[in-house]
Amino acid sequence: MNPTVCLYLIYITISIALTVWVAQTLHKNGRIFLVDVFGGNEPMADSVNHLLVVGFYLINLGYVSLALKTDAPPVDTQQVIENLSSKVGVVLLVLGGMHFFNLYVFSRMRKRSQQVQIPPPIQPNDYTLPPVPQT
């Protein structure tokens, strides 16, 4: 097995393992957030959670496979490690970026759902008799 193939195999293993780990974290901890956003509607929260994780997998695995090919094929172990480190580093940054983007989406949804309960920002200028609705 030449060093390049070795690099590819290790790279794929590490990248997929990292993606699965981040996706699981997101799936497990995002659920509580989503249940709150959807006002306790658990089936809805689970559904959205699942769809988000699927999108997360697709984007990350797509990036991992696109970034597989190396421009400078390694000839010895040192170069394998260097090459591997820079590739995995970029994958980690992409995962981090995706993770924060997901958090942003979650918090935006939550903010939006909480806005229903916010009291009016201003007080009345004056008071009068409450109106009697017309029939």
Binding site: Q115, V116, I118, P120, P121, I122, Q123, P124, N125, D126, Y127, T128, L129, P130, P131, V132, P133, Q134
Partner: protein, 128 residues
């Protein structure tokens, strides 16, 4: 608070346009519109003339609170699902004076703005 009564100027094209726009928006609170000149408005709020509805927009909540001018506009935004965040932003101390100035400017010049922008529509409605 579940319902807001909006008393606008029925003779102003701009105000009628605004009403149409407001009615199309998804809302948290029910907005009910009456021209301040109408009998319904007088029935709902017998002392409406005291709040000078010809000078500025007047809004009456179902709890009896009267909102005037920029406060009435901000409450309209507050009632809308897509603009509630904007009402909170504009009601903050930093932006409230600006909102107030713009509302004053538009309210005082509403008839000339209506004439300039919506004259054709108003004439069309009158001939119909």
């Amino acid at each position: 608070m579940k319902r807001l009564y909006v008393f606008y100027d029925g003779e102003c094209g701009l105000c009628r346009r605004c009403r149409e726009w407001l009615m199309r928006q998804p809302a948290y609170l029910e907005l009910i519109f009456h021209p301040f000149q109408s009998d319904e408005a007088k029935k709902l709020c017998p002392n409406l003339p005291r709040f000078q509805p010809d000078q500025q927009l007047i809004l009456l909540s179902d709890e009896g609170g009267i909102y005037q001018g920029e406060n009435a506009w901000l409450m309209c935004l507050y009632a809308l699902r897509d603009y509630r965040a904007w009402s909170l932003r504009l009601a903050a101390p930093a932006l409230k004076p600006l909102a107030q100035r713009i509302c004053m400017l538009v309210s005082h010049n509403r008839l000339s703005i209506s004439n300039a922008l919506f004259r054709n529509i108003l004439e069309g409605e009158e001939t119909r």
